[in-house]
Symmetry: C2
Subunit: 443 residues, 2 copies
């Protein structure tokens, strides 16, 4: 980075057409996206070799930079809100909004990532072959990762931090309504990279905001190694449809709690209330409650009353409806529904087998819990339920990278390739084989 261009490539990531002499006409959309990806690829070679200390220093500096630029961050966010706020719903407007507290939280998250162990260079196994070859596997970064997200600007800092720590370069494409906020956040992060001697192009916000820029980005086979769409099912499907590069898919979370005949009923009630009510709008909230027939009479009346008091709309099978007057009849669609709100489907089942068959038929392979005191059934549930997170005697709400102890989360995969479930730093790496010999040849 030359001193004669102070910050021009730092603050306006991808903004290389500052000099009219070098670029008399604005580049086409495709040229612009590709040019950013080419710069990302070049940065990836350097970043893959960066040592832990350099990366941590950059993360700390990123946090400080965000804190010292609070005024300009809030001003940029104000522009976004002025331009787009009126067209957004209340929830989206709230997600877009940045204040001092939220900026401080971004800085804290970056410092937390700095404190996590560096996965790059970790040796995940070593063994010796009969011919004396010493073999091992070592974690390396994936390369260039595209993140496609919706309105929350904090994703810009969170994703950049996780990618940097794992030696990956990130190309960020947030919602166009948050473009000024995201550019300004990325500007701070790039400034920090520059100051600490790492390539600023390791963090870039896609400069062009046209919708088609996403289609171009996800088609850059050979330049982009992985795309992670963070958003609703529609976004994920649209990206998957267009992609020529691998995509981590996170469809929906139709999470179940199964209350077994041997459950501690008080525990079951607490877990169910937590799983449904604590934050109903997220993917790890319970959407269907399954109850063993033998305890339905004991368990359901109190449970349903309690949920009703919490404002939950109940939709159940005929058997369930006997235990509470306000339970509507569930339709076939209710069993596969991801409500993301205070609605719950409830079904009485004949034991573990039927519970697991229901989950297999209607579930989304995201997260399921069993409440039981029976160790054999607990073990069967853990082994046989085909979901990314399976829990015994705990709320489905723990299905989250931070809560599971991954430190932080770049996304959740509901497909089984590369990762299944919450993805942390390790999931942003892959292993290569290394071999120490003493002249071995193959015969």
């Amino acid at each position: 980075m030359s001193d004669r261009e102070p910050g021009s490539r730092l603050h306006a990531s991808g903004h290389t057409d500052g000099s009219p002499l070098r670029r008399p006409v604005r580049s086409t959309l495709e040229e612009s996206v590709r040019e950013q990806a080419v710069r990302a690829r070049a940065a990836a070679e350097i970043l893959a070799r960066a040592d832990t200390l350099s990366k941590n220093r950059a993360l700390e500096e990123m946090a400080s930079q965000l804190e010292s630029e609070i005024a300009s961050l809030i001003a940029a966010n104000r522009k976004d809100l002025d331009r787009h706020g009126a067209s957004l719903g209340e929830a989206s407007r709230d997600r877009l909004h940045l204040d001092e507290k939220r900026i401080a939280a971004m800085a804290t998250a970056l410092r937390e990532v700095a404190a996590l162990p560096d996965p790059v260079g970790q040796v995940t196994g070593e063994w010796r072959r009969p011919n004396g070859l010493q073999i091992g596997r070592m974690r390396i970064p994936l390369g260039v990762i595209g993140i496609i997200y919706e309105s929350r600007p904090n994703v810009t800092a969170d994703a950049a931090g996780l990618c940097l720590k794992s030696g990956n370069v990130v190309l960020l494409r947030g919602g166009s309504e948050a473009h000024e906020s995201n550019r300004t956040i990325a500007g701070c992060l790039r400034e920090a990279l520059h100051k600490t001697g790492l390539p600023a192009d390791a963090v870039q916000v896609l400069e062009r905001t046209e919708h088609e820029a996403v289609d171009i980005l996800v088609g850059l086979h050979g330049l982009i190694d992985l795309v992670i769409p963070r958003g609703g099912e529609g976004l994920v499907r649209a990206v998957t449809e267009k992609a020529r590069v691998p995509v981590i898919q996170h469809y929906k979370g139709v999470c179940h709690v199964y209350v077994d005949s041997s459950a501690d009923l008080e525990m079951a009630e607490a877990i169910c209330v937590n799983a449904k009510v604590q934050r109903p709008g997220v993917c790890n909230a319970m959407e269907t409650l399954l109850v063993d027939r033998s305890i339905a009479m004991q368990f359901l009346p109190d449970m349903l009353r309690r949920l009703k008091e919490e404002g939950v709309e109940l939709r159940g099978c005929d058997e369930t409806r006997k235990h509470h007057g306000a339970v509507k009849k569930a339709s076939e669609e209710d069993w596969g529904a991801e409500y993301l709100q205070k609605i719950l489907a409830v079904r009485v089942v004949d034991g573990l087998e039927e519970a697991m068959a229901h989950i297999s038929r209607y579930g989304s392979r995201h997260t399921e819990a069993i409440v039981t005191r029976d160790q054999v059934r607990a073990k069967r549930f853990l082994r046989e339920v085909d979901s990314s997170v399976v829990l015994v005697n705990a709320s489905t709400r723990f299905s989250d990278g931070g809560e599971l102890g991954l430190g932080a989360e770049i996304g959740i995969s509901t497909s089984k390739l590369h990762a299944f479930g919450p993805m942390g730093l390790e999931e942003l790496t892959i292993t290569k084989f290394f071999v120490h010999g003493s002249g071995q040849i193959r015969t």
Copy 2:
């Protein structure tokens, strides 16, 4: 499987239109492929829960079945050879050919897979959270795997064995010239599954041989979890282009050996001859030799003479050409070429940095080796070279699942998603999280 249909679904995998009453007209191509995939998906649910003993018993029975059906296997192979042999090159005809020895080798490979540890259910890590949650990760199968391959019928048994052991269902699509052989092999394997109580549909050969059947197969998002094309770059690109499901990509192997200034030159010569000559037609053979300038004079004249004696055509940089009269001038294309025959590109470089820069620019991220006695340079090469297998003082020919100690190999990935390099049983699994709690809820 009813006794009234003896073997009808066993020997003719996918052949469910045996009864004219049930299926008066032949199903369309799409219906046929989809129907096989639906049966595969159903079998996958059962196979994921199969215990190690059952799977091993089936593998042993598969081996016995192949041995006892040698006559019909050779007869089926004869049909393929009669029909297609004339149109095949000698190499392809040889790959297609089955004899007693090759059938015995298939049986042995199945028994070897039976002897490998079962990856399914393996716990790859366990930890405890401050709130008392006990968290772990457990390996589970991927589900339904499509294998698309060319003429070698032994892939049918090898791939089926690895998939079965890892709890996966396999849909096999070999070259149409090997269809009778593949069907008959699959018939034996299905018979063995049936006899040992596992679903025969866990191994299926795609019934329809039209080229378009592959396009349909790789488009079955939600039914097929992964496709592994095993063949040339053209096949891999064609499959990737059409796929709506994840594909493991294995493009090319442009493998390098770098002979460092501190190399044991005798060792270097042996490694280079082995890497180039022992089996030139495979992806882990050396295609480019890089030699440090400071030892070029000592090393190259003998090395080049020796390679020449082995029948290797040499193409080199100007500096290389000084050391042997028969070296042709290498063109820019030679540096990135995957010759797959006895041709070698040779370049003199200025030390480790230039060697690594050359590999980064022209390599295919497959396999590279350094010959050196310098531990610091060895370590830098291992860490910094971005290839799936990096070796110190050993031949590139060891880049192979069996040689690396994975037991066997389902394929090689040159992309970094899910796997990078040779893939064994573990790479046919993914992990899920399991959580033991005592009533924890999220606050």
